[in-house]
């Protein structure tokens, strides 16, 4: 098991390093002027470049960047936030995004699981149909559309929730974005849980358990749930990444200072802020790889087929 974990972590780190390197190269060889908003003479630019070390060989630059990165220093933005340190800006944004995303994940997973289980246990009956319709709607309508709908009805028509995000009333103003973000997760998990459970219910080993005399709740908790829930971890991973990072449009609509909105500002504004693109690219990739890694390990812990196989063949 330990060997398996170490191997996974090693692979993840190497992948991340490759990606960071590629990102760095791509951003550094970008066409045009890295200082778009300032009007400087050719001489000033040359000085500035020298000062920032942009004339050094690319590998030297990369080594320096990595050195700073390991100390948590992402450098400064070229146009956003008047060149405030990226680290400061990032930490606020991350905390906003993660808190809202976190609520959405918890809500989506809990309700999704519940719906899926209830649907599978009532196969072919009303709750099953409800779950199907619900998950179809949740998958077919983007989360920001839900948010627009909620915002229009419950902030504009009936002014109950704040129209825009208000950090001073964090929980209250997180309700609408979190709920709309959670719907996709909820419906995906509900649908997946239901289908997995139905499949396990039809499996030979449940048949054997029944022939032993298992029934009812005991059968469900001991044999069905365990086998059905393990694969759910794998669908959960991309959903978590999407929520923690991909709340782009929701953050933009609701005026949340999160990393999604930051990314929009960095690429969709007047000029592109290369340093933010680089920093956010690294952050996103690291998160993505990190969560995939956690899922991989978790899967190993949960599924004896992987856990025990990793211990070395005994049979």
């Amino acid at each position: 098991m330990l060997k398996y974990v170490v191997k996974r972590i090693g692979m993840a780190l190497i992948t991340l390093l490759i990606i960071v390197f590629l990102l760095f190269i791509l951003v550094r060889i970008m066409p045009g002027n890295p200082f778009p908003s300032e009007r400087m003479s050719a001489e000033q630019i040359a000085n500035k470049r020298a000062e920032m070390g942009l004339d050094d060989p690319i590998l030297t630059q990369f080594a320096r960047y990595m050195g700073n990165l390991l100390q948590g220093d992402f450098g400064k933005g070229t146009s956003l936030y008047n060149g405030a340190p990226i680290k400061t800006v990032l930490s606020t944004c991350i905390s906003n995004s993660f808190r809202i995303g976190g609520i959405a994940i918890l809500l989506g997973t809990a309700v999704g699981l519940l719906l899926g289980i209830v649907a599978a246990l009532n196969r072919g009956r009303f709750m099953d149909g409800f779950c199907t319709v619900f998950s179809i709607i949740g998958v077919c309508v983007p989360s920001y559309v839900f948010l627009i709908f909620l915002q229009y009805n419950f902030s504009f028509k009936i002014p109950f929730f704040p129209y825009f995000f208000d950090p001073s009333r964090f929980l209250f103003s997180s309700v609408m974005p979190s709920v709309s973000l959670s719907l996709f997760t909820m419906s995906t998990i509900a649908r997946f849980t239901r289908n997995e459970m139905v499949e396990v219910f039809d499996s030979d080993y449940v048949r054997l358990a029944e022939s032993k005399g298992m029934y009812g709740r005991r059968l469900v908790t001991k044999h069905v749930l365990r086998n059905a829930l393990i694969p759910i971890v794998t669908v959960l991973a991309p959903l978590v990444v999407d929520l923690l990072t991909g709340a782009l449009v929701v953050e933009k609509i609701y005026g949340i200072n999160g990393i999604g909105k930051l990314m929009v500002d960095a690429i969709a504004g007047e000029g592109i802020d290369y340093n933010y693109v680089l920093a956010l690219g690294i952050l996103y990739s690291a998160l993505y790889i990190g969560i995939m890694l956690v899922v991989d390990i978790l899967y190993g812990v949960l599924d004896p087929r992987i856990r025990v196989a990793a211990k070395g063949e005994e049979a």
Binding site: L23, L26, M30, I136, G246, L248, M263, G281
Partner: protein, 342 residues
């Protein structure tokens, strides 16, 4: 009637019933009378209510995306206006959906503004453009982007996966490591890096989709290849001396096409979703061009003043998702029917 049925049940055997039927054709199999694989898939698909609903939805949307913009005289970029008696330009700004004939039928009155005779099924936007035309034009753009990119992705992904799976060993190993790295880059990061190199617009969306969607296809193609590779008929063909290219394209490709088409049906909605979201954020389609995404953004910007404006693109988007997902589900079931559905 009842007598007859009863009579049938207690049919009394007569002597002449006990003769051998003799030489009949008993070797033909009536149950499994040759029904080709694809014909079976076809029949199974059309028996699935949801799949048919999906197909109808998509057909309708494609129909309107092609012919909808031609159904009235307004262009998708044109601002509807005319000059009145005083030679002042009157613009059809923010008119809610209307069909004058029906309005008259229901209320007995006519609209009392300058556009009383105009029909705007979906209304007009804040600049005075006809939303019916724009919605279908936008749907056309979104569908085109999705179709084009997914078909290219299918070709790239399939070739990659089939080659990787077929050759196996070192080739497969290297190709899979590459996929692993490529798969670890979030789509958003790819978009943001692209935004540095490319101008915003349709091109950016297409390239972003090209760079990400092929991976899923290649995985499916590779898995199918690994599954099929060891089967007898491929081995047989290899022992007969068939060359690699021949085996890949003639033996294996026809068998992988099913799962790949299913994946395409699921990738198209992803592509449409992505396009909509990129355009909404402002790195996709640029005004005055339009797509489903920009139309939703427009609608959102005017939501407090013209709330009806956001509805058509949202409904079209949701129906596209629904339709393609239904077709995908239907195909998947038709290609691998479970016993109980037989």
């Amino acid at each position: 009637m009842e007598k007859q049925a009863a009579g049938k049940q207690i049919y009394v055997p007569r002597k002449e019933d006990f003769v051998l039927l003799g030489n009949r054709d008993i070797t033909t199999d009536a149950n499994f009378a040759s029904q080709s694989y694809w014909k079976g898939v076809f029949i199974h698909f059309f028996k699935n209510r949801r799949a048919v609903v999906g197909l109808v939805i998509i057909t309708l949307i494609v129909f309107f995306a092609i012919f909808g913009p031609m159904m009235n005289s307004f262009g998708y970029k044109d601002i509807v206006s005319f000059r009145n008696e005083k030679n002042r330009k009157v613009v059809a700004k923010g008119i809610s959906p209307r069909i004058p004939a029906i309005h008259k039928l229901l209320t007995g009155e006519e609209y009392d503004d300058s556009f009383a005779e105009y029909t705007f099924l979906f209304g007009t936007d804040d600049l005075g453009r006809d939303l019916w035309t724009r919605t279908w034009y936008g749907a056309r753009v979104s569908l085109l982007i999705a179709f084009v990119t997914i078909i290219i992705d299918m070709i790239i992904g399939m070739s990659y996966g089939l080659i990787s799976g077929y050759f196996g060993g070192m080739t497969d190993n290297i190709m899979q490591r590459f996929v692993e790295v490529a798969n670890s880059v979030p789509r958003l990061v790819i978009v943001s890096v692209l935004a540095i190199f490319m101008p915003k617009g349709m091109g950016l969306v297409i390239v972003a989709l090209l760079l990400t969607e092929w991976i899923g296809m290649s995985k499916i193609a590779r898995a199918e290849m690994l599954k099929i590779k060891e089967q007898e008929y491929v081995l047989a063909s290899r022992t007969l001396g068939a060359r690699n290219g021949h085996i890949i394209f003639k033996e294996i490709l026809p068998n992988t096409i099913g799962p790949i088409i299913t994946q395409v049906m699921f990738s198209i909605p992803t592509a449409i979703f992505t396009e909509a979201f990129l355009s909404f954020v402002g790195v996709g389609i640029v005004l005055p061009e339009c797509s489903v995404g920009t139309l939703i953004e427009d609608g959102f910007n005017n939501i407090t003043t013209l709330p009806y404006q956001i509805l058509p693109p949202i409904i079209v988007l949701a129906l596209l998702m629904l339709g393609f997902n239904f077709i995908g589900d239907g195909l998947r079931e038709a290609l691998a029917p479970k016993l109980e559905d037989m």
